[in-house]
């Protein structure tokens, strides 16, 4: 996996999957698929906490649950752009971070997914965003510690 800071306020991650593009795209917008992989190691993302309305203005909400102590980590986002099966853009109103996922068919039933996040410093801007972010981070750090 490559990750790098493209510029001051951007982050990019890419990964190639051995699966056709339609399927990889569906994994990102179908709750019964997303539930299997969305939470990082040591967490679950239960099906009943996932809300996906994949169209501009529609919600994308998930709750990651810490397997060790049951604490919950909700993330609220709203879709900005949905182009099946090429592109998904969502933004998190609480932090201002916008995530663009691009799906490229590589021609041999493999798919490259590129995640590009912008407005990262926005997440540190207002005192409210900073407080929310700090809380999320603290809870998140707890997950990661339990997981490793």
């Amino acid at each position: 996996m490559n990750d790098q800071m493209a510029s001051a306020d951007e982050l990019t991650y890419t990964r190639i999957f051995d699966a056709p593009r339609d399927l990889v795209f569906r994994c990102m917008i179908e709750p019964e698929r997303l539930t299997h992989f969305w939470g990082p190691i040591g967490t679950s993302t239960p099906l009943d906490g996932i809300k996906i309305d994949a169209r501009p203005g529609g919600v994308f909400e998930t709750v990651m649950v810490n397997d060790a102590d049951g604490s919950r980590y909700p993330i609220r986002a709203v879709y900005v752009e949905v182009i099946e099966p090429e592109k998904l853009v969502w933004t998190e109103p609480d932090t201002g971070v916008t995530t663009t996922s691009t799906f490229s068919a590589l021609g041999d039933a493999r798919t490259e997914v590129r995640i590009h996040q912008t407005n990262v410093p926005e997440a540190f801007r207002s005192p409210e965003a900073q407080a929310g972010f700090k809380t999320s981070l603290d809870r998140f750090a707890t997950y990661l510690r339990t997981a490793s």
């Binding site: 001051a8 999957f17 801007r125 990661l144």
Partner: protein
């Protein structure tokens, strides 16, 4: 824009440059003078000074006014918030992708 906003933008801008990241990494091991910081790089002293000024402006480093060699000091708190988030975020996407890979490799999930 408040001073805090400016600083955060500047922090990310500062960390986007490989030379400045290397300087920050060096200072994480302890204070250092400009000459010490310049040593590993093929850059002139004025070049290094420019990088240091940028790091100083966003509050990532500070320099003692009175000491003769004005050693540079890393202000960890400014760095930590930004780095913590980037690291947590990177880890989430890595693990998410690892799990998606496993999911996609189960034949039953490929319809």
């Amino acid at each position: 824009m408040t001073l805090v906003d400016d600083r955060l933008d500047a922090t990310f801008a500062a960390l986007a440059d490989p030379t400045r990241r290397a300087i920050v990494a060096r200072l994480a091991t302890g204070d250092a003078t400009v000459n010490e910081l310049a040593e590993p790089f093929d850059i002139s002293l004025p070049g290094i000074s420019k990088h240091l000024k940028m790091l100083e402006r966003c509050g990532l480093i500070s320099r003692t006014r009175r000491a003769q060699f004005r050693p540079c000091h890393l202000e960890r708190e400014v760095l930590d918030t930004a780095v913590d988030w980037i690291e947590a975020n990177r880890r989430v996407w890595t693990e998410r992708f690892d799990k998606l890979d496993v999911y996609l490799n189960h034949e039953g999930n490929r319809q």
